[in-house]
């Protein structure tokens, strides 16, 4: 069972090419991670601590430091005697390996990135000149909502900050996100960018397969505000590869507690013995609970249908559950629509989470680079956290792994 529709409502969309080294990691950490990976993957041919005669494998101490792209390409795709590793490298692992090799195991400073290696300093291509045009869900709850004087919600506010950093005006195309099981927000995002309806979309999970080449050649657009009445929604858009930017937040899994449970505290799912658990099909949180909760808890647990009614049903006491596992953003949505809720969110967060970024067409490298820089600044300065508070959201900063690898029941079992 693969992750299908992991997050509430509008959250899904998807892609990512992240070129700069990982999140606020200092170089020491990167080199240390690189050494661990090097020992496991590379040392058998390139020598322990990079010491190698060069007779049967490349002597990496001699690797030209201005050829970072060659290094990345050789590791990912293989070259002559070098096997290909691209299919099994973990997110961020290649950056760490480069840091280890380029600093000769941390003994040398990191070489300056050759500007020519990065995206060419071209002018971003924009849908409308002088404007950053974003597609946002009109009914996106805590993340986005249309107001007469603009908009509200975390995605809206952060995009406004990004537009300001890019010295552009923010223009929003408000679309109707279908909160139906059948709708696929990632595919909608691909369609909006390819049409092109907008330059950027928000709430895109940094999850394997949510970015890159499209999975289907074409897709339909969701309805949007001021859509021409002559527009035929059934005429599909030919899709293009999409990239995700650096993440601005992290989607996490938490536990909602009903008022009848007093003095609730938990450190892990194993603390739920004796409680009746609610969980929702087709969500990441539901799957985590299903795989990891103790068997006696699962036996008495109640499964709820996919869709936004979940927390309303908990609120109303359906099946009389004691606690309900949720995506925290979904709870924020619920509070937005029901500010007098009796439900409360426990402190506990599951270790499994997913970074969230923006999506941009892969071909628009210049815009990706500029947005990446702006996002990193806004996260580091605390501006995004501040915007979350204004939007009454529980906020979590992005964390490693940058991009979440494909999840299966087996892989989820080990993430605690």
């Amino acid at each position: 069972m693969m992750l299908k529709r992991s997050l509430y409502g509008a959250i899904l969309a998807g892609l990512a090419m992240v070129s700069s080294p990982a999140l606020s990691q200092d170089l020491d950490k990167l080199v240390k991670d690189g050494k661990a990976s090097y020992d496991q993957l590379c040392s058998k041919c390139h020598g322990k601590d990079l010491v190698n005669s060069g007779a049967s494998s490349f002597d990496l101490r001699e690797f030209p430091l201005d050829q970072k792209d060659r290094f990345y390409n050789s590791v990912e795709n293989g070259f002559e005697a070098m096997p290909a590793w691209g299919d099994i490298l973990l997110p961020g692992e290649l950056d760490a390996l480069w840091a280890y090799v380029a600093t000769k195991g941390g003994t040398q400073p990191m070489p300056e990135d050759d500007a020519s290696l990065d995206a060419p300093e071209a002018v971003p291509t924009l849908v409308a000149e002088g404007k950053l045009t974003a597609c946002l869900a009109r009914n996106g709850g805590a993340l986005s909502g249309k107001r007469s004087d603009g908009g509200v919600g975390l995605d809206y506010l952060v995009l406004a900050d990004i537009a300001e950093a890019l010295e552009l005006d923010l223009d929003v195309v408000w679309f109707e996100s279908e909160q139906e099981e059948e709708s696929d927000p990632v595919r909608e995002s691909y369609a909006q960018l390819a049409y092109p309806l907008c330059d950027i979309t928000a709430s895109h999970p940094l999850y394997e397969n949510t970015f890159g080449p499209p999975h289907t050649p074409t897709a339909a657009l969701p309805r949007w505000l001021h859509m021409p009445t002559t527009f035929n929604l059934r005429s599909h858009v030919t899709l293009k590869p999409v990239a995700v930017t650096r993440p601005y937040m992290r989607s996490e899994i938490g536990m909602v507690v009903r008022p009848k449970i007093q003095d609730f505290s938990m450190e892990g799912l194993e603390d739920l013995h004796g409680l009746k658990l609610g969980l929702q099909q087709g969500t990441l949180s539901g799957m985590v609970a299903w795989v990891q909760a103790p068997r006696d808890v699962i036996k008495t647990a109640r499964m709820f249908n996919p869709g936004p009614k979940y927390l309303w049903e908990i609120e109303q006491g359906k099946h009389d559950v004691d606690v309900a596992i949720v995506d925290v953003t979904a709870f924020d949505h619920h509070l937005r629509q029901n500010p007098i809720s009796d439900l409360r969110l426990a402190e506990w967060r599951h270790a499994l989470g997913m970074n969230i970024g923006f999506a941009i067409l892969e071909e628009n490298a210049a815009l990706i680079a500029q947005v990446n820089a702006a996002v990193d600044d806004l996260v580091a300065s605390g501006a995004v956290a501040q915007r979350a508070t204004e939007s009454r959201m529980h906020y979590a900063k992005p964390k490693e792994p940058l991009i979440l690898g494909a999840l299966t029941q087996d892989s989820i079992r080990d993430i605690r």
Binding site: Q40, K44, G47, K48, S56, A81, P83, I88
Partner: protein, 553 residues
Amino acid sequence: MNSFKLALTAAAVAGLCGSVQAQSLDDLKADKSTPGDVLTYGMGYDMQRYSELDQINADTVGGLVPVWAYSLNDDRGQESFPILHEGTMYVTTHNSTMALDALTGRQKWKTMVEYSAEVPRVACCGIVNRGVAILDGKIFRTTLDANVVAYDAATGEEVWRVKSIDYNDGYSMTVAPLIADGVLITGISGGEYGIRGYIEGYDPATGDRLWRTYTVPAPGEPGSETWPEGDAWTRGGGPAWLTGSFDPETNTVFWGTGNAGPWNAGVRPGDNLYTNTILALDPKTGDIKWHYQTTPNDPFDYDATNELILAEIDGQKVLMQANRNGFLYVLDRATGKPIAAHKFVDRVDWAESIDLETGRPVTTNTYDQIKTGEWTEYWPSAFGGKNWAPAAYHPGTGNMYINTFNVGMSHKAVEPQYRAGIFYFGVEWAWNWPEGHRGEFRAVNPMTGEVAWKVPTDIPRNAGVLATAGNLVFTGSLTGEFEAFNATTGEKVWQFQTGSGIVGQPMTWEHDGTQYITLVNGGGAVYGLFSGDERLAAIPPGGNVWTFALAGN
């Protein structure tokens, strides 16, 4: 079960047809007494690597010169044992199989092996192949991506190909297959990758798999009581990456298994059968007749995969192995009971001795301490007292001729991290290098442990050995010299610089009264890759098949 029966029938039919074909099972049994052909890995089912040919001897060896060389067009380490049949020589690299005219070195055919660019990462210790097996007009090899392939010996056309297992999970094959009692037998590699090892039997005619004997039992199977509860057994190691020997008299195949996985032995308490074990198998069924474990609950990477040499010594039919763990075992090959077990290198830290009554090692504090997570130094290192390179046994001198390693290692057990297809060690480690030489070529009496002579070398030799009735032993160095030594005294009597390091296996044959010696050179593989020995920087890779004879012949 129908396919199983069919396969057996097919094997039987193939065996009958074999009598009119060139090389039959009887030819394979008689290989030692027919020096015009070399049909079995190790020069005979007993794997003594000993030849009665004596034209090249201590007196004449000075006149030994190259007759031809053939480029393998490949930079990987070359470990292929050449098979010779009716004037055609069959040699492999990791990605090709060649048939050569044995007298001229001219290529008859060459067939490439295609595998994807990801595959080499699952080979721990060198992108190598160790050669072919031959039967009934077909030759058989294994591939790095764990396929078993049969080719038409005359044309190189593929006859059948069977995928043994998915390489993505860390499985690979480098072994030269063995044909015993009409069954094609192979073993899997990947002990460093969290595999579950096995040995397999195939029908040489069709490629149908006849049996698979796992070297790590599943829960409930015999030997499973030596594994902890849980799933450690699924990644328990026990590869079987070197060719076994065969005793046609008792119809028994002997095959060694490698290290338990991960190296961190603390996560798999128990003896961990049948890792680090010498197995006696029924070639038709794969059933285990007896087993003898050399390093129980192995924390050192002391594989018991090394060649199992069969001989008759003082009227006893024995099996001998210079094990990575530093002991030279002599076992009664009917029962697996040890007759002698002497240290064949100077420093062996993990055990005082082998108790011949119980068969178990008398272990030291090193063996206990290393499982606690403390940094622990041990000699010999994971290279072993002897690495993979096959030794020779000379019945005339009664000695085994062994390329030994003089290298130590330290490691610290840490929590193992399993990722499919990636090293699964559970230890942090470092080498401990000696002050002086790192290896010795030694002549050792297996029954007494007495060292008749030793020749030190700065960079350890890791090539196979060939012994002849000419009172010579041949081997090669990582710096490229192909060498001959006086079997009695250890005096070096001849050498030839082959142009690249040698990790291959010399063999000898004769044609029309001339004795030839053939060797595949080409540096690389485990020591070159792992040691980081920068003295090898001036030794270029690049393999050739070399054939030598006395000048004037």
